[in-house]
Amino acid sequence: MLKIDCDKCIVCGICESTCPFDAIHVEEDCVVVNDNCTLCGACVDNCEVEALSIEVADKKVQDDFADWAGVMVFGECRHGAIAPVTYELLGVGRKLADTRGVALSVVLLGKNIAGYSDSLIAGGADYVYLAEHDGLEQFREDVYGHVLEGIIRGKKPEIVLAGATAIGRSVIPFVATLIDAGLTADCTRLEIRESDGMLLQTRPAFGGNIMATIVCPDTRPQMATVRPKVMAALEFDGSRVGSVESIDVQPNAVSSKIEILETVVSDQEQVNIQEVETLVAGGRGLDSAKGFELIRELADELGAAVAASRAAVDAGWIPYPHQVGQTGKTVNPKVYIACGISGAIQHAVGMQSADIVVAINRDPNAPIFDFATYGIVGDLYDVIPALIKRIQEVKSES
C-alpha cells in the first residue's frame, strides 16, 4: 500500500505530475491515491518532503535461504548440437561465479549427451550435470520442467541462468513457479552488487524504450534468462578441469500429457543471422521487396547475410527469421550495415552491440545515426551501387 503522511505533505503536486498511471491527486491539504496505483514508486522517489512511502505486508522469508550457493546454467542441445547460447551463458556465469567465489555448473538434459561434457568444461563449467534419458530426447515443457526442478532443489544454486530461446522462455517460467523463485526475462546485463552479493539483472521493457534493473532479495535461486548473442562466450580452454556427474532420471519424471507428433526444421533460408560476422540490413527505406535484391548484392560482395527491420518484414518483403530487434533476433556481428532503417529503439536494441555500425539514410536526423560508428547521409539507391563498385575496385586492386 502507498502510505501518505498528510502532516508532511505540502500539496506541491510533484507526485501527481510524475505518476505514470494517473493514480495520485492533490486534494485540499493532502494527496489521495486511487485504484490505478501499481506501487511503481515513482511518486515516492520524487516526493521532496518524504511524505510518501510504500508499505509492504510481511514477506515470506525462505527458510533455507542461506544454503543456496553457486551459479547454474541450463544448457540446451537440439538436433545433436549444443546451442551457442549455452557457451555465452557459461561466459557470463563464469564472471558471476568468480565474483561470488563459488562454482559454476551446467545442466544438460537429453539423450546421448555425455560427449558434450568436455567442451562444456572447456567453455567454463566446473561441474557438468547430465540428465540422460530416452524420454528427454524431445523437448516437452512439463518433463524438462520437473527434471530441472529436481536438479535445482538438489544442488541449490543461488543463481540459475538460461537462454531466452523458444525452449528457455517456455520451461524456465514454469520451473521458477514450481520452486517459487523470482525470474527476470531477457536480461542484457548481469552483475553482482558489491554491497550484498545480490544479482543485478538489467533488461529492456516497453519494447526497449526503457531499461530496468531488477533484484530478487528474498528468494533463491535468482533466475534469469538471457537472449542469444547478448553475452560473450569464453575462449575454449582445453586445460580447464571440471567434473561430470550423471543425474538419475526416474521413469515417472518423463511421463507427460504432451505428445510431440512431429518436429519440423525450417527449410527457409538456413543462414542464421546470429551466426555471421557481417550483416547488411534493409528497412522501409528500400520502398519495395525489390530493394532487397540490391541489399543482397552488397551482402554477397561482403560475404555477409541479410537482415531487416520489422517494417520490412511486416511489409512482406522478407521473412521473419531475418528480423532484428526487440521482437526479432538480437545480433552481435562485427559489422552491421543499416540501409533505409530509421533506428527506432526497438530495432536498435537488437543490433547496438555490433562492433561497427554503418548507417545509410537520407534523413540526417534519423536516430540510427546515434547508434552508428560511420554514417552516410544519402539515398541508398545512390550509395549502395557506389559502395559495391568501390568494393569491387578495391578487391581487384589487391
Binding site: M1, T18, P20, F21, D35, N36, T38, G41, A42, N46, A57, K59, R78, H79, Q138, F139, E141, D142, T165, A166, I167, V171, P173, F174, T177, D180, G182, L183, A185, D186, P204, F206, G207, N209, I210, T213, I214, C216, P217, K257, I258, I260, E262, V264, S266, K334, V335, A348, V349, D370, T373, Y374, G375, I376, V377, D382, V383, L387, I391, V394
Partner: protein
C-alpha cells in the same frame, strides 16, 4: 468447450518514454490498449467455440479501467468477462500475477482450455502463461502458431521453435500461449458492440478468489525493480561528408581492415 482467455490492458509500448529530467515514465499521450497478442488468443478462443460450442470467458487482472479491454473483448466475441481487481494486487510481478489469475480461474470451475498471449508488450516477459499452467497443474504449450486440429477432448497445434516448429497434441484441460501468426483477429460486430455496452462485468476481490494475502501484489513478488533508466546511445560516430563517391571511398577505407 469452456475457454478462458487472459487479457491484459497495457500502455501502447511505442509511446512509452522516460522523462529525462525526472527519470519517471511520461504518461502524456500514452494510450491504454488490449495487449496485441491477447487479441489473437481471443480470436482463437472464439473460433474454437464456434466449432465446438461452449463459452468464452475473458479475464483480466488490473485496475478498474481494465474493464475497457474486457468490454472490447466482449464486442469481439467473448461471452462473459471477469475483472480481478483489488488494491492488494498492486505491484504484482509475474509470479504474483500468475498466482492471482490462477486463483480467479479456479473460481470458474470447469475450464477445458486457457489461452494467453505469448507475452505482454509492457514487460515482454512471457512468464505469466507458464506460471498459470504450473499453478493449475495443466499441461501447456507456448508460442502456438497454428491450430491443426481440435476436438472436444484434445487439440493439435504447431509450437514455434527457434529453428522451425513442433507439432504437438495435448488433451484438455490445457493451457496455450499464442503468437500473432495464429490467426487474423476479426473486427467487433455491431451486435457485439451493443452487447459490450450493456454487459455487467463482475469484479473479483482478493477475498472473492480466496487468495493468501502474502502471495499478492508487491508483497508476493519475488522480483523487485531497483531502478529504471533510458538506454544510452553510442558516442563514437563519424559522419562522412562530400559526394556519394567520396563518402563511399572513406567508408571503404575504414572498413578495409575488417575484411
Amino acid at each position: 468447450m469452456n475457454i478462458v482467455v487472459c487479457i491484459k490492458q497495457v500502455p501502447d509500448a511505442k509511446d512509452v518514454r522516460l522523462d529525462p529530467e525526472t527519470n519517471t515514465l511520461a504518461r502524456e499521450g500514452v494510450e491504454s490498449i488490449m495487449n496485441p497478442y491477447d487479441r489473437h488468443a481471443l480470436e482463437e478462443a472464439v473460433t474454437l467455440k464456434e466449432q465446438h460450442g461452449g463459452t468464452v470467458t475473458v479475464i483480466s487482472m488490473g485496475p478498474p479501467q481494465a474493464e475497457d479491454v474486457l468490454r472490447e473483448a466482449i464486442a469481439c466475441g467473448a461471452d462473459q468477462a471477469l475483472l480481478v481487481s483489488d488494491r492488494a494486487f498492486a505491484g504484482a510481478d509475474t509470479w504474483a500475477t500468475s498466482y492471482t489469475l490462477a486463483k480467479a480461474i479456479e473460481t470458474l470451475g470447469n475450464v477445458d482450455l486457457t489461452l494467453c498471449g505469448k507475452q505482454a508488450i509492457d514487460g515482454d516477459t512471457a512468464q505469466v502463461g507458464p506460471g498459470i499452467a504450473c499453478r493449475l497443474g495443466l499441461p501447456f504449450i507456448t508460442c502456438v502458431q497454428k491450430t491443426r486440429q481440435s476436438s472436444s477432448e484434445s487439440i493439435t497445434v504447431e509450437r514455434m521453435m527457434d529453428d522451425g516448429f513442433d507439432v504437438i497434441q495435448v488433451p484438455f484441460p490445457a493451457l496455450l500461449t499464442v503468437v500473432k501468426d495464429i490467426n487474423e483477429p476479426r473486427v467487433a460486430s455491431l451486435k457485439g458492440k451493443m452487447k459490450a455496452k450493456k454487459v455487467k462485468i463482475p469484479t473479483l476481490s482478493a477475498d472473492d478468489i480466496k487468495a493468501e494475502p502474502q502471495n499478492l501484489g508487491l508483497a508476493g513478488s519475488p522480483t523487485q525493480v531497483v531502478c529504471v533508466f533510458s538506454p544510452e546511445a553510442r558516442g563514437d560516430r563519424t559522419l562522412f561528408s562530400g559526394t556519394v563517391e567520396e563518402q563511399v571511398d572513406q567508408l571503404v577505407q575504414e572498413l578495409k581492415a575488417h575484411f
